[in-house]
Structure formats: structure tokens, C-alpha cells
Amino acid sequence: MADTKVTLCGIELDNPVIPASGTFGYGAEFAELYDINILGTFSFKGTTWEPRFGNPTPRIAECTEGMINSVGLQNPGVEKVISEELPKLKKVFRKKVMANVGGFSIEEYVKTAAQLDACDCVGWLEINISCPNVHGGGMSFGTSPTAAAEVTKAVKKAVKKPVIIKLSPNVTDIASIAAACESEGADGISLINTILGMRINLATRKPVIANRKGGFSGRAIFPVAVRMVSEVAERVHIPVIGMGGVSSADDVLEMMMAGATAVEVGAANLIDPYACKKIIEDLPAEMEKYKINSLREIIGAVNG
């Protein structure tokens, strides 16, 4: 029997497949289609201290093998997430869930993370220091090792649950940012968030996205993500969650060989709501094909 179990920061997952934040809501839409308890876990929509509408529309642009989004962290704010969304989430998902946290100041990250840390259904805190959509916001923390380290340190002090720092790919040396987070006590690193992109409507000579730019994701970014996951996994000693363009069981194996302990799936859920279910069902056969008995044995296989 193919063993798909992995351990992420002390919590065992039935399999490494995790829908990525912002592409799975709070699970309800997918729970209508299949039992989402088959997932390793999932990361719910980025939560901020205050409610946010996000950016003006259009927020979505089609790209070759991918898409640009500029949702801008739309969410009802941490108070409503806890009082309204998590009770509904618990009805459809029995496992520990990953809470994704966004923010615009260190205090905000800390306050929001502390509130979510206290929720029994939350297993991990994924701190998004990388969302490229907010003017003068999250971006700045994710692009400098010092700022990334400061957020990590402050959040770690305020919470008990494992802290996973989610990194932006829009930097020159992602491994040194990961290392800075590790040195301040991060329990894990997840990457990559979306790559800054832009599309232009030829007929109107204007950007397709109202906010001009947005985050590029989907199959097209997979090779960039694999390279960055490998660079980070070689540098740090904490678990790495790999994501960016993952859309098949093969992609999961490749991410894990690059150094990922678990794998998040983003845009693929939007175009095929059954994407994660199919990946999980395909995993055993793909493992057999490559003579893998246990997924644990391939983590970082490519790295020295």
C-alpha cells in the first residue's frame, strides 16, 4: 500500500494535498461536490484584522496556462471569520484547518494571528507576508529579510500553534528571506505566492485588471515554484510547503522531491473544482509508477 501520510509541524496529514488560501473560500462550495475531509487540510481565505472589500473589478485576467488576480484580500475581518465562517467550516471539515493571515502592520498580524490561534479548529497559522495586491501593504514585509524576521518574531511570541511564513516570489534571493524567518522561530515556510503580472486589452489600450497589476498563478508558474522551493528547502531545516501551478499528482511528487513536505493547490481548484480530489485519488498509482512506497522518503530527494 502506498503510504501518502506526511507530518507537517507535528500534525500528521493523511496526504500532502492542501487547497491554497484564496482558492477554496471556507470550503463550503467544494463540500457541496465532495467530502472535503479527504484533503490533508486546507488553507482558508486570507484573514485581516478589519473587514476588507478588496480591489475594484475587473480583478481577474486570463493568461496562457494561468490567470492574474487582484482580489486584494477581500474578507469579512477576523471577528466575523471566527463568529460566522469557522462554525460553518467545522460542519463540513472535521480536521485541523490552516488559518491564513494577512496584514498591513506588525501589530495587525499579531492581533489577527492571536485571535485565530485561540480557535480549536485551527492547526497551523500561515502568515502571508507576500500578497502583492495591497498598495504599501504586505509586500514590504516579504521583500526584506529584516522585515520578514520581525513579523515572524512578533507573531511567534503571541501564539502557541505552528507558524508557517508564506513567502513572495517577487524577490531576488528567496532563500535568505526563508532563513531569516527560520532564525526567528518560524515552524515552517510556504511558497510561492503569486508572481506580479499584468495584461493589456489591445482594443481599449488599458490594463485588463482595474488595479493595473495582479498576482499571476496557475500551471504556467510551476517551474519557477519548483526552483524556489528547492532553493529554500536546501537552506532551511524546517518543513516547507510547496505551491505554484500544482495541478496533478505528478506535480505533487515533483514539488516533494524539490523539498516540500506538503503541497498546496491554488488556481487549479477554480477551473476544476474536483482538482484536489483527483490529485489525491491519482497519488497511489503515480507513486507506484515511480516506485515510491512512502511519500516521506522523497522529500527533498533532488537536493544535496
Binding site: R59, V71, Q74
Partner: protein, 246 residues
């Protein structure tokens, strides 16, 4: 919502750029007029949302205008080809407040979803009037089909080449109990201003998923933030906030 494989049973032009497609498959998730389907198109990443125009047991009818890459691929599809489709998306029209004399106002490719709505209202014994607005005679479709349902049909073209001349709102001074409308946003705004009763509007927005997961299609309303794909595409007159509706 359901995902299903549908077989094309018809794909024929109604005008130079507007096509009618009929599809056979599991339509059990389609419960209201005004809902839409989201079609996967090979070679393109995002699905394409198109309103349901008619529904007969396991057969769906859609009418689409060829405007870009996705709809061009759809145009080239043949009978017997298969499509991967998400069905039963969106809230759809609520028939209950229609009253006895509902008015339906459609513009261009906003006309299709009103067809199933008109049929359902006729089946309930309502006295239905439909105003169909197009730019010019060559672009007109479905005037006869609405007439065949037994609805009073008023055809309007901007250039007056057929039917009455002007915009749909120039011909709205009728006696009606409630209204339903779908069409380009400037038309919806004009209908909003001109209408004298309550009514329902169907909106469009660029979509990531079409089923409520990505927040790509949000708008602000009087009753809070709504996703056009899940909480819409139909909004009531009283909840619309135009200034932020783009």
C-alpha cells in the same frame, strides 16, 4: 452546482456573430431561469460563463456572441463534440414577486436568459410583455420565439431598421406589475432610472471560478458585499449601488 460532460446537439448561427448551441447532459442542477453555466474550453485557462436560455429535460440551450478567443473556439465546435460544463451556477430570477403583468427587458446578448424566464412566467398564466433591444435589424434574434411563447413582444432597434426606433427605455411607458432585465450595463442603468416598479437585474463580471470560491467577481450592494457568480448574477433593484458597481 454540478460538473458534467455535455454533448453538443446543435451549434448554429442566429446572426453573423451570435450562435445558438444545444447541449445534452445532466441538467439536474439547473433550477432557475437566470442561472448560468461555466464552460471549459481547451487551450484556455478560465472557463467561460454563459446564461441558460432554455431548458428541456436533459437539454440546455445557450445563445452566445462571438467576441474573443473562447467564444471563437465554441463557434467551431461540431454536433457530437463534448464540453466539460459546470451547471446550476448563480441565484437566478425569483418569479414570486412578478405580479400579473411582468415586463421583461433585454438588450443584445442579454436577451437569452429572459427566454426561459418568459416561458416560466407564461406557464404560470402571467400576462408577459417583452421588450427586445438590438442595434440594428441584422443583429435581431429570437423575436419570433418570444412571440411563439405567447408573450407580447416589442422589438426596438437603435437605428430603427426594424421595429420601433430608439432604446428599450424609450418604449417602457407601459402598465406593468414588476420587471426583469438583462443587458449591457448602460442599458441596465437606464432601465433602473426609467422603471416605476421594483424589479430584478442580471449583471456580468469577469470571473475566476464562477461558483463562489475566489472573490474575483465581488460588488458592493446595499446589503453588503456580494459575489456576482454566487449571490448574483441577479440583484434586486433595491440592493443595487451603481457608483461602486463600476
Amino acid at each position: 452546482m454540478k460538473q458534467g460532460i455535455f454533448e453538443i446537439t446543435e451549434n448554429k448561427p442566429l446572426t453573423q456573430n451570435v450562435m445558438r448551441m444545444r447541449l445534452i447532459g445532466d441538467t439536474s442542477a439547473c433550477i432557475r431561469s437566470g442561472q448560468f453555466i461555466n464552460i471549459k474550453i481547451e487551450g484556455l485557462f478560465l472557463r467561460r460563463p454563459i446564461s441558460v436560455c432554455d431548458l428541456n429535460k436533459d437539454e440546455l440551450t445557450i445563445i452566445y456572441k462571438v467576441v474573443g478567443k473562447g467564444t471563437e473556439v465554441m463557434r467551431r465546435k461540431s454536433v457530437g463534440d463534448k464540453l466539460d460544463v459546470l451547471t446550476g451556477l448563480g441565484n437566478g430570477y425569483d418569479l414570486s414577486p412578478s405580479g400579473d403583468k411582468p415586463l421583461l427587458i433585454g438588450g443584445g446578448v442579454g436577451v437569452p436568459p429572459l427566454y426561459l424566464l418568459a416561458r416560466q412566467l407564461m406557464e404560470r398564466g402571467k400576462d408577459v410583455t417583452v421588450i427586445l433591444g438590438f442595434n440594428t435589424a441584422k443583429e435581431v434574434f429570437y423575436e419570433k420565439e418570444f412571440g411563439d411563447l405567447g408573450a407580447k413582444t416589442i422589438l426596438v432597434t437603435a437605428d430603427g431598421s426594424v421595429g420601433k426606433k430608439g432604446f428599450v427605455t424609450d418604449h417602457m411607458d407601459l402598465d406593468y406589475s414588476y420587471f426583469y432585465t438583462c443587458g449591457p450595463e448602460p442599458m441596465l442603468k437606464a432601465v433602473y432610472k426609467r422603471s416605476v416598479t421594483s424589479g430584478q437585474f442580471s449583471f456580468e463580471e469577469r470571473m475566476g471560478c464562477g461558483f463562489g470560491a475566489c472573490m474575483g467577481c465581488s460588488c458592493k450592494t446595499v446589503t453588503g458585499y456580494k459575489r456576482i457568480c454566487k449571490d448574483g448574477p441577479v440583484l434586486c433593484k433595491e440592493e443595487i449601488l451603481w457608483q461602486t458597481q463600476k
